[in-house]
Amino acid sequence: MKTIFIKELQESLAGNRFYLIFAIIILLFAINGFLYSKKYETMFNEYNDMRLKTEDEISKSATNFRSLARAVFFMYLPPARLDFISDGKYAELPNSLRYRVDFLQSRSYAVSQNNAIKILIEIDWMFIIIFVLSFLGFILSYDAVSGEKENGTLAATFSNAISRFSLISGKLLASLVLLFGATLTGVISCLIIINITGKIPLQIVDYWKIVIILLIVACYIVFIISLGIVVSMLTRKSFTSLVVLSLIWVVLVIVIPKIGYLFINKIYPIPTFEEIQNERDKIREYYLQKLKNLEYIEFQEARSKKWFDTGNDDWRVTQALFNKLMKQVNIIKSIANISPFHISKSAIEKFLFTGMERYPEFIQQGRTYFTTYQKLMIDFDKSDPDSRHWFLNYISEKPVSTEALPQFHFREPGIGESLKQSLFLVLILFIETAAILTIANVAFFRADLRTVQA
């Protein structure tokens, strides 16, 4: 096996193919490093400016509890440091929550969004791995068996005392080392660029995450090469093998991930805008009816309660809709996960908590913060004997200490939590890789290895 491994390695290093692959990977990783350093800086500055503005507004309003309670503030979702690995189109997603003591609302627009620009794919590591690495992996492995059959070297190899398992393992290992080596070099060059520019403050935990991602990528590379070898075994000519692999690539990388999106409104329709609006109107109407024909004090107390009840019910409608919208997103992703290529992307996205994984977490953390904020505000008002506790009109007018008010900070999940989230998908990827490896071995044991005419 060692001899085969060294022979394959030497052959690849002597040819032009590997250097072409190497150059492409390094170039793309370098572009990624430069682009995301710039992007993160822009997004973080924007986020920071808005966060400071909100803090400033809170401290200004805190001089009087009543004005603080009546003021509307925002919680912002910070950009992820590891966006350069898996962007998940952060800039296309909403990034803030609007809140007052009696309501919490999600907003629909995002930071620095320009809808008139159509960028279908972000140049993140996922793009390089899913689109480019897989393609280059096929280019590296398409003639692993069929090429040798054409040259007649396969039959010659087996005239020596060598097992089929050693041959296929040697080939696989050599391709893995080459492709993973190129990827690793690309990753290092990208990290060097990020560190030199200094725009993304990477922490130790981020490097650990990168190490885990590299392990997933290694598994993914094994999958690609095994698939390449299987197709190369099943086809008589290396040219046919490359044609078949290219078509498999088009279907698995481009077509299947889009199927869910194209069909989603048939598979899982969402309520219309009018339906949602009607539900909201019903809530408002219900509370307005309750206020009718009440005496002054009863009216004020009921109205005060109405602020909170309407806010809660409104949030319930928002949340129900949000869950449905998320279900649509998850269905599309699940359909895309039929493609083994996409599974690694989903696993890494889950692991890093970027893109669409990050947003529901933000909503959840925002809701938790809001509940604390609301409770604190009500308690503060209760503690004031001069207040009539009629939100939002006749309440305390005392100053509030800003230190007593909690600040919203998005908590990034720890490495263990992230791993737990992505474990299922990583396992599927491992199982698929093991399956294709087994198929490659079985097929090679049964393969007709006689020389064919090119």
Partner: protein, 507 residues
């Protein structure tokens, strides 16, 4: 002789396995994409009709001049089945009111905003991806393969010029791709005719034909490039690898990388920062409140305070206004009008540079990408399919123009000086006929009048909004540079192939 080589190439390609596999894949993908996109079109068309009906109903409800407003809807284009462009990304509805100059269109409320992270497929994209790949499969060994097999030497031993061989190979491959592409287009048209809510117009047939020709031109460029690579690289295996890498870069990597680089290095003001600086609306609101209080104080006893606050989202709607109140209100609303115009102008001037900046950024991205054949051809097809950015800009402009139409209509009626500006009492209405004894009676009368069709102002002479797409000549004009770029690359590749092949060592 060219025809002989063309025929040979054509037959060779047609009987090959790669042709069958690729053709089947292309047919499946195109029929699938067409079906999904036609369904989407039908959905959008239904949505458009619902919106139109709502807009008409809304217009019917308007009873005073100051409340005049309109919702303008852009009909979906059937050709978006071929090229979706910006059709589903940018809004299709503009809200036009008297004191708000439209700067952007609103989105589709029925859609899931989180689906923006995904992208669909259209016929043009499938052709660019799949037919581009097939063209490379057919040409990667056009010259070096023949050389390796020794057939090139045999062909050249006959009395045949080299350029004829090259031209024959080009036209043979082109024919073997243009015909299947034509079949795919035919299939797409039949599916549209069967499934779509409406049939195609003559102009749309012309546009589809032009899209087809543009795509044939793109395929021609890939064929030229494939032939060039097969001349430059001796080994067919390596030339196939190079061709595939070229395809990956031309169709997927470069368009996205170029767009991304342009976006990242284009200096624009972030939305939230810009929005945070805008307090014109708030200031106007505060001005209005102050003004209303001043007015109420000044005219205490002269007008009924309760009706004065009857302010709606668009304009005012008062009832039972007497002669004295009318005179007082007229002066007040004239003043209010000037302030609202000032506010609208201020807000427009504040936001216009921001939206212009976004537009410039998008335009720059398109210009940079138009150098790339794949992006260029997609942009040209978007232009023909009337789903391009230019069409969206035209829609926005038509919204701004319609606001002027509304003002012209009001000026023609001397609306600002009339009672109908803020009151929907019928002509000759006399409040003294209604001796209210209590509040309930007044409210009951108010409710009756709310539903009184007589009180509604006559709007039959307001010119109706009708969105018109750019005509065919303008669509071609808008995408001409992109098309020229693809033709340019096609000629360059073919000329280089010619140049290299004339000096090619066939041994």
């Amino acid at each position: 002789m060219i025809w002989h080589i063309t025929k040979r190439e054509l037959l060779e390609n047609l009987i090959s396995l790669r042709f069958s596999i690729c053709f089947v894949l292309a047919v499946i993908l195109i029929s699938f994409t067409t079906w999904v996109n036609v369904e989407d079109y039908n959905r959008r068309w239904k949505e458009y009709e619902v919106n139109r009906a709502q807009a008409r109903e809304e217009m019917e409800k308007i009873t005073t001049y100051s409340a005049l407003h309109a919702f303008l809807d852009k009909p979906p284009t059937l050709l978006s089945v071929f090229s979706r462009g910006f059709e589903t990304r940018l809004g299709t509805r503009i809200e036009v009111s008297l004191y708000e100059t439209p700067l952007k269109a609103t989105g589709r409320e029925m859609d899931n905003p989180y689906l923006k992270i995904f992208s669909g497929l259209d016929v043009v994209e499938v052709v660019v991806l799949v037919f581009g790949l097939i063209a490379f499969f057919f040409t990667f060994d056009a010259i070096n393969g023949e050389k390796k097999r020794g057939t090139l030497k045999s062909i050249l031993s006959n009395n045949i010029a080299r350029w004829r061989i090259l031209l024959g190979k080009f036209s043979g491959t082109m024919l073997s791709l243009a015909v299947p592409l034509f079949v795919c287009f035919l299939l797409a048209i039949i599916m549209i005719l069967i499934l779509a809510q409406r049939s195609l117009t003559l102009s749309e047939y012309a546009r589809i034909s032009l899209i087809y020709l543009a795509l044939v031109n793109y395929v021609g460029f890939i064929i030229s490039l494939g032939i060039l690579i097969s001349i430059l690289i001796k080994e067919p295996k390596l030339s196939l690898v190079v061709c595939l890498v070229c395809w990956l870069f031309l169709a997927i990597v470069l368009p996205n990388v170029m767009a991304k680089i342009t976006v990242e290095f284009y200096p624009n003001t972030p939305y939230l920062i810009h929005a945070a600086g805008d307090n014109a609306d708030h200031q106007f609101f505060m001005w209005q409140i102050r003004n209303h209080f001043d007015f109420a104080e000044k005219n205490r006893g002269k007008v009924r305070q309760d009706i004065f606050w009857n302010e709606q989202q668009y304009g005012y709607k008062f009832m039972f206004v007497n002669e004295q109140e009318f005179k007082i209100f007229r002066e007040f609303f004239k003043n209010e009008h000037h302030e609202a115009v000032k506010k609208d102008q201020g807000e427009y001037n504040y936001w216009k540079p921001y939206y212009d900046d976004l537009d410039r950024e998008a335009q720059l991205v398109q210009q940079v990408c138009s150098w790339l054949p794949a992006s260029g051809i997609i942009q040209f097809c978007e232009s023909l399919a009337t789903s391009s950015l230019v069409n969206h800009r035209k829609f926005l402009q038509s919204g701004r123009d319609y606001k002027d139409v509304l003002w012209l209509y009001l000026n023609g009626k001397n609306a600002l000086n009339s009672l109908c500006w803020f009151c929907d009492d019928p002509p000759g209405f006399d409040l003294t006929q209604y001796p209210f004894s209590n509040k309930e009676e007044y409210q009951a009368l108010f409710r009756d009048h709310e539903n009184d069709i007589e009180r509604r102002m006559d709007k039959s002479d307001i010119s109706q909004y009708q969105y018109k797409n750019l005509n065919l000549a303008m669509s071609i004009h808008n995408g001409l540079i992109e098309l020229m770029m693809v033709i340019f690359w096609n000629i360059i590749c073919f000329a280089l192939s010619f140049n290299k092949f004339m000096r090619y060592d066939v041994r």
